[in-house]
Amino acid sequence: MASEDEDYFLPLEQVRPFSSGVRRKRVQFVRSSDLDTTATPTPASSSGTSIADTYLSIVMKQAPSSPSSPSSPSSPTQCAPSPPIRTQSAPPAQAIIPPPPTVTVPAAPEFCDVCNIPLPPQDIEDATGKKHRPHEASLVHQICLTHSHPPSHLDRTRQGLRYLSTYGWDPDSRLGLGAPGREGIREPIKPRVKLGTAGLGTGLDRDGDPLPPRPAPTKVQKLNSKQMRIKVAEDKKRAERIRKAFYQNDDVLKYLGEGV
């Protein structure tokens, strides 16, 4: 199985709720030859996509997702870093072909079709003996992926939305209305209330760039006699400190015997 040689790095979904089981050598099982008998998904499939496929096959009982669940024997290759995600959706015939072919041709560097950078050769993992991070997890790859946006805030039960949806508008498409290719604005224009008679561009400098916010005018504070006394004393101390900083001469101090 996938994690035969490495007992330390257990995929998260296989981690038991108690810690003792983590370091212990796992008890190995072999798959039943009769595929139909197992209803529950085997925990061996460690790849995220195969799990997703399994869930999809439960939720949407459609043909296309079913061949991927028996193809879980091919999961060792999927766990390995190199092949890009796209190849996993290859026809089920690949499941029969053993993985070695990809390993045997390290000379021709493969390019990831998402980020267009050469993929690291697979055998590096074995050479250093250290687990390599999958290419898909690299920062470059993640940045190049098409970004998915949070869904629109619109209330899906609105009658108006239903109408627009029947004519093919998708609130999450981040497109406005209108003929294809010439879509309009997505959000209504925001009204801004202007009060008073301040001229255009107040708060901007000569080039039209916003000025730094002006410090709020300091409030005049009234002090009672005690606070006043403290303040006077503080001011005196500060004045003394400043005077020292400016006029103090080390030589003079030495002479006076203070600076030691």
Partner: protein, 757 residues
Amino acid sequence: MSDNRSDSEGGARAKRQKTDAGDPKNNPYLAHMYENENVSSDNGPLAKFKRHQTTSALAKKAEDGDINPFSGRPFSSKYFSILKTRRDLPVHTQRDEFLQLYQQSQILVFVGETGSGKTTQIPQFVLYDDLPQTQGKMVACTQPRRVAAMSVAQRVAAEMDVKLGEEVGYSIRFEDMTGPKTIMKYMTDGMLLREAMNDPNLTRYSTIMLDEAHERTMATDILMGLLKEVVVRRPDLKIIIMSATLDAQKFQRYFMDAPLLAVPGRTHPVEIFYTPEPEQDYVEAAVRTVLQIHATEGEGDILLFLTGEEEIEDASRKISLEGDEMVREADAGPLKVYPLYGSLPPHMQQRIFDPAPPPRRPGGRPGRKVIVSTNIAETSLTIDGIVYVVDPGFSKQKIYNPRIRVESLLVSPISKASAQQRAGRAGRTRPGKCFRLYTEGAFKKELIESTYPEILRSNLSSTVLELKKLGVDDLVHFDLMDPPAPETLMRALEELNYLACLDDDGNLTQLGRLASDFPLDPALAVMLISSPEFYCSNEILSITALLSVPQVFVRPPAQRKRADEMKNLFAHPDGDHLTMLNVYHAYRGADAQANPKQWCHDHFLSHRALQSADNVRSQLLRIMERQDLEMISTSFEDKKYYENIRRALCAGFFMQVAKKDTGGKSQYLTIKDNQNVLLHPSTVLAHEAEWVLYNEFVLTTKNYIRTVTAVKPEWLLDIAPTYYDINSFPKGDIRSALTRAADRLAHKEKIRAEKRR
């Protein structure tokens, strides 16, 4: 209806074409339409004219002839004197170029700066080439404003030496000045849109011109979207898009790269000045700038742009006072100040065309006039003699917020295009100067490129209703130049659904179809249509008319107290709608009709507004009669007389209701949108009603609701049960109040049922 020509053949043709989807040329019933396509019908001055093959030389000969080719009467002497000035207009030199492009392509984009004569001349060029009379069709030219449609039609009728309303006419909302002979029709863009609702292929027209397209009014935008579809169905229809600004490429791109013809306007260079620092108070800076120009600059009138009536009156007064002082102290030339804004009576608006005052003594400093205006002087009015423009960079703009369903007029920075347009006003007669009261940096960075078109700033409920009536169901892919935000469209669909103009699947209902026949907001239309159920259609009709015209109450700043006293004579304790109705009834009374002008003056009412309300009322009455809506009233002695009217108001305005807030004094909370509002100080509502219905939400420093009437929650539950579905309200004051009202209603029902037994 679809064809105003008297011959029955023409009518039949129009009808036939509507049902025939294929190419009309293949239709044997229409063969007559094309056989004489290139043959002139008579032996008059146009005998040699071949449709869409004429030249300017040919047209010139006809224009110089003795007989008017359109009316058949001899030309008057006045005609020839106007003709001479017409030939001096910039567009005239490019008549041949225009005709070639017009003949070659179906759609043409025409750019002519203000003063090029495009609005008056291009339609006449088209008439001499398109010869719509031979086809039994008309040429239409749309204008964004009613006044423009009227005045341009008048001018063109004079230029063509025909009587207004015969060959040349106009059609605006609530007024149709066309006849069976009309071949040239000026109309508001909204009117053409209304016509399209009943005649989707616009079969009455052979050429349609959309003038002032750069203003991007709602109706022009929708029309452009429609015409894009109509030109495919009607290859014989020609379209000219006329714009005054340089964003013509945008129109070209939108109309499948239609050819473009540009005619230079007659403009002079304008020098532009900016302030080095932003101004702290733009009104004060504007006043100072005007006086500074008066003191230091040469002869020439000044145009100052400000935002609203109050600001304009205030600034005018200040300039006047200071100007007088300058005359006394510094021997400056006399200064005359004219305010200009939409709600100013026409005779006052007319004064802006008065010449500047003469010097006080011969050889003295020249006089000067100052016009302080809203942005109506930016595009719609052309005032000659302006040499200096003062532009503070603001205007009042309508903006709609679909999240709280409030349409408001807000003072906002103008756009760069708008600022250019304003500056251009200084170069009409000779080189001018434009003083911008902001920095160049602010111009570059603060101002948007061009003003947002109206369709992005408005409530779309009446537009959606119109589009549905026009048969446009796919509102998602309807090809607009600037499609509105999805949320705004959703709101409109939901409002129409609550008003029962659209069913739950978004199909037009019978009520919606009826409502779209009225040139009114859907809420008003629905209120009017359902008023017979409340036995008060006469009264609701009057109220609708009053709500469709400018404010009837006049409140001059000097006589506020007296004006308020007079208003109180008509006051009804239950609200402003009923007060307005009282005013209308009094105005129609014998006392007032003896001398209505004097009566209105005495009672601080706007005679103009009441007159137009009268006019609107009779127009709406005609539509109601056509739709077989019953005109009834509850007997005035019946104690339910006013209650019925208030109930009928709820039928249209149940979405504009506020409930008194339990916390604050005279604070109200709008239903569903939960906005804190106050009653507008102008209200006559005598008691602090728990529930009020309002006509208008005014967004200023405080949120006000204006024109309010007290209503009862029971009525709302009864009239609009889906909108007031108690389960849809969050727990709170409003929900519990509604629950109590529902209980009371159920209780009453029970008693009534028991009595019946």
